[in-house]
């Protein structure tokens, strides 16, 4: 077995096991840790398909930013030794039913569909190509969504400050 196939199975195992543990563990801080494992394994996956910039963004923003935010809010809002009660049976059954049936349906659809890759020569994904396309205005230019998302981030930041600050 080639080394990258082995790596793929390792990362897939981490993703599958940790995403199940994220939604089943009874301790909230452990759920955050398992979520971190899933996100880091995803970043490893981006490294495998040779998108280094995407992997870096994943590590910095998801694993570094969002998980730290979540852990902060856990520490602010719940006791560290607090254990959840088990969910009631009907909700558990409904949730597992939705998950399993949806997964089965999408797996069947994926296995039946014949994916046909393009025959055009592959593009070299380096930082220069990403930067030129991200701020380009012509074909394959993404400057408009880039600006829109900058305004969205500003609005989210101001909104978060206003919402979370102490009222009078």
């Amino acid at each position: 077995m080639a080394l990258n196939v082995l790596m793929f199975y390792l990362l897939s195992a981490v993703i599958v096991i940790c995403s199940v543990l994220t939604i089943t563990t009874t301790r909230i801080l452990r759920a955050a840790f398992y979520l971190l494992c899933v996100l880091v394994a995803t970043a490893g996956f981006y490294f495998m398909v040779d998108y280094q910039f995407m992997a870096g963004v994943q590590l910095v923003l998801y694993a570094g930013g969002i998980v730290v935010l979540i852990i902060f809010s856990i520490l602010l809002t719940s006791h560290i030794n607090h254990k959840f009660a088990r969910p009631e049976a009907t909700r558990l059954i409904m949730g597992v039913l939705v998950g399993v049936s949806g997964f089965a349906l999408s797996t069947i659809a994926i296995l039946k569909y014949a994916f046909t890759p393009t025959t055009n020569p592959a593009m070299k994904v380096d930082m220069q190509a990403i930067g030129l396309q991200l701020l380009g205005t012509g074909k394959n230019g993404y400057v408009l969504p880039f600006e829109v998302i900058s305004i969205l981030l500003l609005a989210a930041m101001i909104g978060a400050i206003i919402i979370a600050k102490k009222g009078k």
Binding site: I23, A31, V49, Y62, P87, P117, G159, I163
Partner: protein, 105 residues
């Protein structure tokens, strides 16, 4: 195909992650764990975007940029959601979705 890894196996892993997120969204009652389930769902979508880009259309970068923008939007969403959770905790002393029904009349 990427040196012996078929695209279907990657998509199955990401769809497992997606439905784990959906399942957690239904099962969990704590707001922060629901937020974690949403992050799982968004992350699965991101994997799909990158994989379709790399395996099917390697001459373009569209899936890559979609994934980048989704990460940015997820960060904005998480910050606002956590601000809301902290505010709700301060007012009601609980972040269980069963107990947050003050605005119902």
């Amino acid at each position: 195909m990427l040196q012996g890894i078929p695209i279907a196996s990657v998509l199955i892993v990401s769809s497992f992650m997606f439905f784990a997120g959906v399942c957690g969204f239904i099962i969990r009652r704590n707001m922060i764990t629901i937020l974690m389930s949403i992050e799982l769902i968004l992350n699965a979508v991101n994997i799909n975007m990158v994989v379709f880009n790399k395996f099917l259309f390697p001459d373009q970068l569209q899936g890559h940029f979609f994934a980048l923008f989704i990460v940015g939007i997820a960060a904005a969403e998480a910050s606002v959601a956590i601000a809301l959770v902290i505010n709700i905790y301060r007012r009601l002393n609980s972040i269980s979705v069963d107990k947050v029904n003050e605005m119902k009349y």
